[in-house]
Symmetry: C2
Subunit: 633 residues, 2 copies
């Protein structure tokens, strides 16, 4: 694919459909409620230096650190999410809140530009002494992303200027020079933020700093060893034991296994893809491709959840994908979307969009409740009923990650370039974009993801030649295209996109139909948790069975015969209106030896009705038993 | 069954067979190596008050406690195991070691009888201030069991006298009196030790104290709350959050679910069964029965491992029996054996012996390596190859639990009473016992558990009438009995025992044959981890497949067709000589879409040979992938 650039969400209007409803919820409920939580949890107060630092409300974790060291990042992420909301609809109250935060930050900032409220308020003398654990650069990155977004939404520069001063200070402290620290953050994030800042400002030094952080990572002597010794600590007594946790076990270009903390990994790979694109760095691109293949072929749930283990919030062994204990942090799926979008535009291959779409509609969206004020941190693929959504969390990272995603979701739909427009995602929307140097509009009518019928109208004042590239998702085994009512016979499909290269003008309409049968998905046979089981997919949605829909049978007893027909049923009354999957299935009957835990007889089965709902909607009717992978009868 | 009493292991000689080999290993290798570990780890040194207390070699755990508070218990358990060894074969070196420990304890003991070396050496002023966490009574119980065993093995009273003085002190401190503490230990153990002491001494007060600890447990106001307030702690800030952990959430007679820390639970239920028997307490017996049914019908692995969760070292939800993450602590299966033996003699029902035998040959024995110096703390039912045996552990409880079990295993074989002799377990052995007031010998010839052919010879000088009760294990669906070569037609089977009630004399021989086909075991359909899988059992042994025996196929790809014949193959060359299970099975073939993690096609299978070895022997050839539950093709 000739390289295209994403059409920013500010140029994409989502219309009355799936995403509009969720966007409205985020704008009107999620973002205000998050501000309230930031206030009531003391996070906002922690910015008001030089007041005395707030008491440690949260006890230190196993490694002796308070989660309060991450608080600046939560503020930054909320500003980013709120700014995306402002881009949809200006709001004086929210702007006043951000402006107030800006003034707190302005007062807190030290003369040299340093700006981390936890260190300034508590241990200014210890700043930059523990990058491994204390996340100063991570916090800086999130504040920076927030500042860029606020500037783009409102045009106000004050917060961005504060952050630029901070980044200028960081660029003095860190780098290859003999007087500089050869360090990088234990929790990657600032790297991708710096690339954003480069794009926003054009200042090359920000790009160079991002590249420095990426390429210095994992080199020997290891910076985390060096700084530990400088603190008087024994590097060998590192509480996490290994540097795979932060993907700093070796230089990033040599990494070929997706390891460690999943969110850190995804943020890093996103920055690597960014740098590969801007610097045209083939080696970095190659590293991204190897890592992508690793995660998607061996270490990803069918929901595009990633990172099965709670102990490292991340990756374990190949094919180790337990369902009930799946960590699959919401943040990790959101960050996978970031990386996938970058890979998609770097390589122009629809398989990246396939993963992006799977993560968006399943592993990430499950993190936010329908009411917009309850969250999942972990997204297991089975539950005994004990997993529940919460209103806030001692580490509230996921809350603002999912709100900033939804508030900017339109930015994942379209891309354009010199001679082509790509439609990556489907859903009723209007995009204003530039192609071949001319402004045009693409108007999409669809009832996606419930239906695969999509109509795309081009609005161009004058005839304009370009390739309209429509993504044919990997899940769509059959599709048809008509232009102005004329079916197209075998239009060329290149890298997952049907390319309609012609002269377009207002009035031209393309009808795309993607067939959406319900399909049984089988996992790789080495995934022990899924042996003898299937999951159900329709379009981009992975389905689950929830106890709430099965009054007569414990969900754990349901079995799906291989021959059972899978039908769809539209249910406008349920969960805001969804398409369900129903089947005449079976339920394991009580064991022959009443109550026996182990017998030599396989148990009998009785007829039972099985009903699936989209996975992302589970647990909106209270805690509930749930399963994605269904045993085959 | 008329009530019978176990024949003590000192009256049972194990002959050249399965248990003799393991017993010799424990006597010659395990017990000496454990002494060496107790020495090199500083545990012995910690007894040598008034030397300064040893430095804290092990950092405190999450709850701020050092595992050193348990050290006295490790010493007690080693003395117990070593004393059982001495009963088989006196050993001056071991006796000198125990006598030296005895002198250390004598010097450490305070004038009032108090004897906990950790508190005496570090915080004598804090004694009895935190029964919830600090295990003083637990330690006392293990020292007491050790002292009783040493006295019984050697006749020496000094250690027992020291412990009786300590127990006398405990009986003054704890009890219902207004000046006494109404407390009990966070980790049950002393209760069953006190019953042993009662049986050893006949002193009623020890029995009363055991009953007091059992019945006070879980009453309101809750003692752990009371003592926390007395310490100045907030009971609500208890690190474990709930008292189910120590089965003190409600009075024991009201408990009907097996919850919390598995070892604590089993020790407590053992003491409850003891008290039910001695005091003829029907309500306590009933509580035991309810709890027994709960654990065996909903919360026990097929290996009789118990306690799936690492977080509480114990129980979770009904049917929550994950395989790879199974905690299934060795100690818990050992303690289940203790409880099962008591229930067996309380009720005379062979189903208790079935669980006892399953735990003995599987969940407990797996904890000890063939070489006798490597251990499992956790006994998972599947492994990705990362689980490994260790030589010692910061909490070495399991090491001495399995050695004291094996050193006294003969004590589980036989029971006798006024008019009956029961053979609970099979294996070449000779028991000297009293029945109908007369001394006789039972000589058993068998190649158990490899063969179900058992010959039992009675040696009685004069004809003596009694019922010879031979257990027909639950796994044995067919059996035959012949007396002096004459087949018995449908001899009466009562509560799992065939009863041969006649006049016996020397020269009488019974041939019992238990058919031992290989059987497929199915788990209850609510056990999610085992849906679509079977385990293989032959006789009392649960089998597993280990990667070491499958050079050509990853164990995780093996599938066992329902129609596949399961054959046995004797392998004298393997693991000391075993019977293996072999089958023509299948291996899942690579996915149609090369490398794809998820596809819409079920994968094909290829022929493959499957070979099972007894579960308890796994991981004797290094870490290895392993599975007990095999997917059905």
């Amino acid at each position: 694919m000739r390289r295209l650039s994403p059409v920013p969400f500010t140029a994409v209007s989502l219309e009355d459909d799936f995403w509009r409803e969720r966007l409205d919820t985020v704008l009107t409920r999620t973002i205000p409620s998050q501000y309230e939580k930031l206030r009531s949890s003391g996070i906002l107060e922690s910015l008001t230096i030089p007041k005395p630092p707030p008491p440690l409300r949260i006890p230190p974790g196993a490694h002796g650190l308070s989660m309060q060291v991450f608080w600046d990042s939560d503020v930054g992420k909320w500003i980013e999410a709120a700014s995306y909301a402002l881009a949809h609809r200006r709001d004086a109250a929210i702007e006043a809140q951000i402006d107030e935060i800006t003034e707190w930050l302005a007062r807190a900032q030290l003369p040299d530009g340093y700006l981390n409220c936890w260190y300034i308020g508590r241990h200014p003398e210890q700043r930059w002494s523990n990058l491994r654990d204390c996340h100063e650069l991570y916090c800086a990155g999130h504040l920076l992303e927030g500042a860029i977004a606020y500037h783009q939404a409102t045009g106000r520069r004050r917060l961005l200027d504060i952050l630029c001063r901070y980044v200028d200070h960081i660029a003095e402290v860190f780098g290859p020079g003999p007087q500089q620290k050869h360090g990088y953050c234990g929790h990657q994030e600032i790297e991708l933020a710096l690339v954003k800042l480069y794009h926003a400002t054009g200042v090359r030094k920000y790009l160079d700093l991002a590249a420095y952080f990426i390429d210095e990572r994992g080199r020997q002597p290891h910076y985390f060893d060096v700084e530990a010794r400088e603190r008087g600590d024994d590097p060998g007594s590192y509480w996490f034991k290994n540097y795979e946790y932060s993907q700093s076990h070796k230089p990033v270009r040599e990494q070929d296994k997706v390891v460690g903390h999943a969110v850190r990994a995804m943020y890093m790979y996103s920055a690597m893809a960014d740098l590969a694109a801007v610097l045209d760095d083939a080696a970095l691109k190659k590293a991204c491709e190897v890592l992508w293949r690793d995660v998607t072929s061996k270490r990803m749930y069918v929901t595009a959840g990633i990172g099965p283990s709670a102990s490292n919030e991340g990756f374990t062994q190949d094919y180790d994908l337990p369902n009930e204990t799946a960590y699959a942090e919401t943040c990790a799926s959101v960050a996978l979307i970031f990386w996938a979008q970058r890979m998609l535009h770097l390589e122009g291959d629809g398989r990246y969009a396939d993963v992006l779409e799977t993560a968006l509609y399943n592993g990430a969206l499950s993190g936010l409740s329908r009411d917009g004020t309850h969250y999942f941190y972990q997204n297991p693929l089975a539950s005994d009923g004990s997993h529940t959504r919460w209103q806030w969390h001692p580490c509230p990272c996921c809350t603002m990650n999912v709100s900033r995603l939804v508030a900017s979701v339109g930015g994942y739909f379209y891309a354009s370039g010199d001679d082509a427009v790509a439609v990556h995602l489907y859903g009723a929307s209007t995009a204003s974009l530039t192609v071949a140097g001319r402004r045009i509009r693409i108007v999409q009518h669809a009832d996606y993801p419930w239906s695969g019928k999509i109509r795309i109208a081009v609005e161009s004042e004058r005839p304009l030649r370009f390739a309209l590239k429509l993504r044919i998702p990997g899940w769509a085994r059959e599709s048809s295209v008509a232009i102005n009512g004329t079916a197209q016979k075998s239009p060329p499909v290149v890298n997952g996109y049907v390319e309609l290269d012609r002269s377009w003008q207002t009035g031209d309409v393309v009808d795309l139909e993607l067939t959406m049968p319900v399909e049984r998905i089988h996992a790789h046979p080495l995934v022990q948790a899924d042996v003898g089981r299937v999951s159900l997919r329709r379009g981009p949605l992975i389905y689950c069975i929830e106890q709430a829909d099965h009054a007569e049978t414990a969900v754990g007893l349901l079995r799906l015969p291989g021959r059972a027909e899978l039908r769809i049923e539209e249910r406008k009354d349920l969960l805001g209106g969804i398409v369900t999957i129903v089947a005449d299935a079976e339920a394991a009957a009580p064991h022959p030896a009443a109550g026996a835990l182990y017998t030599t007889e396989a148990c009998a089965t009785l007829p039972a009705r099985l009903m699936g709902i989209p996975y992302f909607l589970w647990n909106n009717r209270g805690p509930n038993r749930m399963q994605v992978w269904l045993p085959v009868a």
